[in-house]
């Protein structure tokens, strides 16, 4: 099976927010790796618990297979009553989000700071310190 290549997300916690930073390219070869890496963080992303920020500063490209994983994540978080935002996309990724209208699926922010600010003051405080 393709798509199972591992992916490191380098999670950083700011108060009740977890910032995940996928890097490089996400396509059909490593989309499942992204899914697996996201899974434990998504499990805690629910009402009254963690919020997730996807920091896309290192993400160079995402294919439709990768978008599908993000869509699955969005659906799961929505069901759990959690919040998940996308931040700091490079122009290419931003274009992909625009074309595929995934900017309608996720809230997007120009920076991680803005994303955290939209989620919780505590997180913003923790990020700022």
């Amino acid at each position: 099976m393709t798509g199972a290549a591992e992916m490191a997300l380098q999670p950083r916690r700011f108060a009740n927010c977890v910032v995940l930073s996928p890097g490089g390219r996400v396509d059909h070869q490593n989309a499942e790796g992204l899914r697996a890496a996201l899974a434990p963080h998504l499990a805690h992303c629910a009402t009254g618990r963690d919020a997730v920020v996807l920091d896309c500063a290192q993400l160079e490209y995402i294919s439709s297979a990768g978008l599908r994983i993000l869509m699955l994540a969005a659906k799961q978080v929505k069901t759990q009553g959690g919040k998940m935002t996308v931040a700091a996309m490079q122009p290419v990724v931003a274009e992909i989000f625009e074309i595929s209208r995934f900017n309608l699926v996720f809230q997007t922010h120009d920076t991680v700071r803005q994303a955290l600010a939209s989620l919780s003051p505590e997180a913003l405080a923790a990020f700022g310190s």
Partner: protein, 671 residues
Amino acid sequence: MSRPHEPRVGRIRAFGVLFLALLVAASFAEDFPGRQWLRYELFDAYQRIAPRERASAPAVIVAIDEDSLERYGQWPWPRRLIARLLVEIGEARPAAIGLDLLFPEPDRLSAADDELLAVALAQRPTVLAIAGTGEARGVNNLYSAAAFRVTGADPLPFVDRYPRALASIAQIDGSAASRALISAHVDGAVRSVPLVGAIGDTLFPGFGLELLRLASGVTAISVTVDAGGVSKVSIAPDVPTPVDSNAHAWIRFSRHVPARFVSAAEVLERRVAPNVFESKVVLIGVTGIGVVDQALTPHRERVPGVEIHAQLIENIFDGQLLSLPSSARALERGLLVLGGMVLLFVVPRARPLPAVGIFAALVALTAALGVRAFDSYHLLIDVAAPGLGLTLLFGGLLAATLGESERQRRALREVLEHERFAAARLAGELSAANRIQLGMLPDPAQWRDARLEIAALMEPAREVGGDLYDFFKLDERHAGFVIGDVAGKGLPASMIMAIGKALMRSQMLRGGAGLGAVLTRADAEIALDNRESLFITALAGVISLDDGRLEIASAGHELPWLLRAGEAPRSIVVAGGPPLGALEGYAYDVETLALAPGDTLVLITDGVTEAMDKQGRLYGRQRLAALLATIAPGAPATLIADAIRDDVARHADGAEPADDLTVMVLRWRGN
């Protein structure tokens, strides 16, 4: 060898054991065709490989040779000349004189000659020849000078027996001290001579044995007979004379030795040293051309018959006679079984060439054993029989082994065939799925409205993909089109693609609420039963064929490209929403554009932009834009579609495509 081979080895061995048992059973049968011939050929081979060396010279032949016949006239000689010869020989005091000659008629010239010979014979220890015959002119009233002391059964049924004998006339015959049979056993070659035979019911000694008896002064020859035949013939306990059951002695032949011979002419002229005959057995025979009785030895030499008797005497004297031990058969069978077991162990496991080597070594060993037994122990062991048996067994085993591996190869080939068949069937299923996928797509060649030029192609990736395109008339003035891509592969993606395409077309044909509502409805339907969480990116549009008005909406799909005369190719931003099935209940916006006559829309799926080369580099939008820029305005739509496909293939440079590739080109020609 590995264990998986054991069952077949077992099968071959079982066959081999059966075969060997059959061969052992066959070895009891004496008379199968060629057996005797094979035995004799083998025995002759022993003789040739290890010929006897003439050690002592107990017998001397006085040869009435070519020289003698030249000097003293043609045979038969006057009997006074024979008498003179006997006198000359007798001067040297030989132990015995044997005349390998017959005088069946009175002398042609003078009765006095017969008398002279009779006197000469009577005065010396002489043995006259008699020959067994079935002819009526033979006699059957002879008596044997040698006494026989028989122990056990009657030897008559076992020994060579003739009804009558050719003998010399009574006057001569009666003068000699003894008479003996000169008949030898001839089967192609002379191999054995009888030590005892019979004329009628009377036992007679063989010529050589009788001469030795006479020379040694023994009166009786003892003969022992048991149920199997004659077991022993002897003139003295210390002179071993092994015989076969027919009382034949098997001679170990030397090659022809001229030193055995003395010319009768030299004897008559006293040119021979006296001690040549002293205490020897002297044989007189005719060797001259034209009269000679000749015999073929196992050495394939033609020698005068008299030399055979000389050889026998030498054999007895030197203890060189060969024996066929009664245990020989058991020994031969033992060799067969032993060698057979070696072959049974080795052949089914070995490759053919080493197996042949081991077989050859086994046969060589058996042959060496036979030669050694012959040379050192004067034993005639028939190793040809076990050798032949081993050869047959080896052939059988080899055939069985090769047959078995051929059978295995065939079985393996069948498995491969089966796998190939299964693979072909799977490919068939896949290609069937591909055919369904492709078959669901409309054929641009069937489009019959000149106002709109349509080209479309899809290149499915190896796995079943989920690209789709569609175009159709909504009514006389409107054409609808859809291009889509299911995120994901395999049959579920195919199913969603089929559902999505059917949904879109039916929704669009129903019309009424507009393109946005069509997408919203499709989005909801796809989200409804979508456990795989697949989604479809799609681009749907309606072209007004009369005036070029274009309604277009995107559900998260690759942007379309617009080729317009005098302008650079550009991707047009299209209103819309997220992919179908991604967000439920989304209200899709619709974009409206006005096409000029000749305007060309190029719709693609990400199989184009995300096509990768072997280094993982994407085809990308820039390259697409560059390609489109090279296309002349008004170039046929199909040419544009093909150009894109070919350029992508050039980029991939043999890399396996990961996704379906779909291109649809629409050109409004104006009304």
